[in-house]
Amino acid sequence: MQTELLQLVSTLGSALLAAPEAGHAAHGTAQGSAHAAAAVPGMGAMGQWALLVPFMPLLGCVLVGLCAIGKVRSKLPAWITIGCLAVSFAAAVAMLMQTMHGNAGQGQTSIVKAWDWINLSFSSKGDMTGTAAALTQSLTANFSFYIDTLTCLWMLFVTGLAAVIALYASEYMSHDVGPGYIRFFAAFNLFVFSMACLVMGDNLVLLFLGWEGVGLCSYLLIGYFYKKAPAVAAAKKAFIVNRIGDLGLSIGIMLIFVVFGTVEYSKLFAIIQSGVLPTGETLRDHWVVWVAPLLLTVGAFGKSAQIFFYVWLPDAMEGPTPVSALIHAATMVTAGVFLIGRMYPLFTADPHLVALTVVAWSGVITAFWAATIEMAIFDIKRVMGYSTISQLGFMFAGLGLLTPTGAAFHTFTHAFFKATLFLGVGAVMHGFGGQLDLRRLSGVMWMKGFGLVGIAMLVGSINLAGVPFTAGYFSKDLILAQGFATPQGMIAGSQWIAWILLLTAGMTAYYTFRTYMRVYVGPKEFVPGNDAELVELGRHPKGTSLDTWHAQHGHGDHGHGDHGHGDHGHGGHGPADHGHGTDHRHAARYDFDPTTEEFDPHPPGAAMKGAILIAMVLSILAAGLYFYKPIHAAEHGGWVAGLVNTSAVAVSNPVVESARGGLLFGQDPHKLMYYVSAGVGFAGILIAAFLHGPKGLGGLFIGNRTRAATSRADVLVGLFGPLTKAARNKYYVDEIYHWLIVRPLNVLGHVFFLFDKLVVDGLVNLAGFAPRALGHAAKGQQSGVLHDYAVRMAVGVAAIVLIAMLLGSGGLS
């Protein structure tokens, strides 16, 4: 630990001194020759200052930990975090600059080593066929970082968003200042460090370390409100479901090591490029070329909430909103996308593209499934959560349809606009005491202080819906168009995938604007919800419709001091005395129970507004990247395509290049898709406006919603009946899992417990019981009577004499 600290300090020192020189020095050295596009980009040199990117958050974590020891009671942990993450972001930008322009403008790959970690060498028995070299294997997994353009792209938005969201969280969590605050920011920093290890690691083992680290921090942060049972359950669920995916990932990594002999990316990509395994077989014919990617895919499914594995993400909304914004929208869930992108050379080495087909289909099924659920649920934070699942489905479909550029670009833009959306929802939640039901909120944008939030939500929504000229529009188009461009034979059913994705894009536009129209525009109305039942997924109190409930309870009785609920924890809280002057109790507190506490709606403060503004501006600016083509830009995709194509993904370029030529209605899909997706998006928005829009926006086509609770869509609910109810209850997936998996496992657990108690413990107890029983039986022999003993002695002597006689005579004769 000490040597590492010293190294860190020396890194910081050399960073400050050497950065300008390092930039110049590396610029000219093109260590690799000028490659064709279908090769790993040339190696370049990167200064040790690049280590700032992963290690500044770690330093932040340590410093925040020191705050805990020092019992700091101010917002210092937040400022430390923001400072460290800002430095990390600056280093990431510098890293990007150098990587992009290295290798004579072709983009370079550098490996920066922090310290030796795992360096094992062992020789196996000589019964393996192969060269002598294969008999001495070595496992090298150092704490080194593989920096190519894909890494830089990812670290840009990870560190950037982390810094912005840390700023937001400094105010959002301000009601917990003290140990809770410190705990939050320590886990936050640790998360960014783990994500950096995941993204920047130069071998699969370091990726796995980061993978587990982000899972751990996700657990810590979802379960931040540890006194609330649902939060704790959600944290456990997230960790356990992730773990199932991790099994696939770890087996995949082990398989790759066994077959390829290495886990380091540079060596792995070299082997894949040469097409020949160390044992001499060709890669194309070996079974590992489709088994290993499938196993890695299972890992990616768990982390990125694909079908069957997504159940943890909606529940993860129990965590504080900054956590949802950072982890479950922008960074951790994209780890699966990154894994597949990083290992793309392996995935495309398979001549049949088995794993990529699986990825594509899972992506489209996930996207569609989540979109249908979202059209029915009422909790706006969960809408955002399912929206993340749906957009992750898009990204996976993009990867599967052989457009890593589209997937990467969509990840990039999605990170920004989804973070904006979450931050906006968080502002609503913070201001209205945890109220998230869209039937009880309306016209928030027109309320005092929420104007910026409303605009930000509009920006985020148009990005999500794919309105033309937004960042989300361009990134989604890349994926949608590729579905048609990929030739029919390459990915089974790619046309079907494309049409379903298009339909899902329309549904996305619909549900996004359903939320926006219901919550942010329209008549100003706010029904405080002390009733936890209604805040849940759309369940009414039994037997009543929402209208009847309102009629019974009346609007006015939900005021702040008059309710029976309010008196529970307040002791001496008189009816006229609201006592809220300085004492704001909000959902941000870790022991806040919305059913009993009072609140006072208030708009977000400067830090939150600043963060929302930055995120919003970034999501608008991201659109410009589509048009910026500095290096190696493919026909479509702009700057991001340039970055992706100069990264290690470039090894797969022959396969990716061949994924073109399909036509949509006889036209080039990429050109036509601009119009088709715009049409689909607008259709979705118009339907949402018609069904949910507020009265008075002008024209017949716009809705006539006058109250928060009702809209024209309620009529449709009656039409679709059970389907809506099923969607509202998320198709009972959790309940199915509970009965199919959790309960049998529980029973199995009890069976094993009984086996342990009766059989295993029984045997051990028997070993103790037997001597005692024997002794008890033998006890009766002791009579205590002298004559008895005398007789026994005599009998014994006689027996000995007899035996001696018999033996003696037997021996003689």
């Binding site: 006890k779 009766g780 002791q782 009579s783 205590g784 009577v785 002298l786 004559h787 005398a790 007789v791 005599a794």
Partner: protein, 118 residues
Amino acid sequence: MSDLMSTLAQANFPSPMAPATLAHYLAVSGIMFGLGLIGFITRRNLIIMFLCTELMFQAAGIALIAFSRYHMNHTGETFVIFVLTIAAAEAALALALVVLLFRRKESLDAGRWSEMRG
């Protein structure tokens, strides 16, 4: 005269039995030992029981003497001297214990003591 004496000495006596062999002496020893053993097992009086153990001791002594005469050396005899000495010492010890036991229970009945049962 000596002929007359020897003739007279043997005249009215019946013909002598077979000369005493080792077996005879061992038989005597065995019978004595058996009697002692049976007496020890059967009698209830502690002193009589002790007497029987002494009888068994002596039986062993006779066997030792007989073997000593049989092998024509003094080993057995010497051992008997030791056995007799030890037996005497042990007799003193045992009788002291008997006195103590008597003081406890005011009786010499061996059946009275069974507190060590179980």
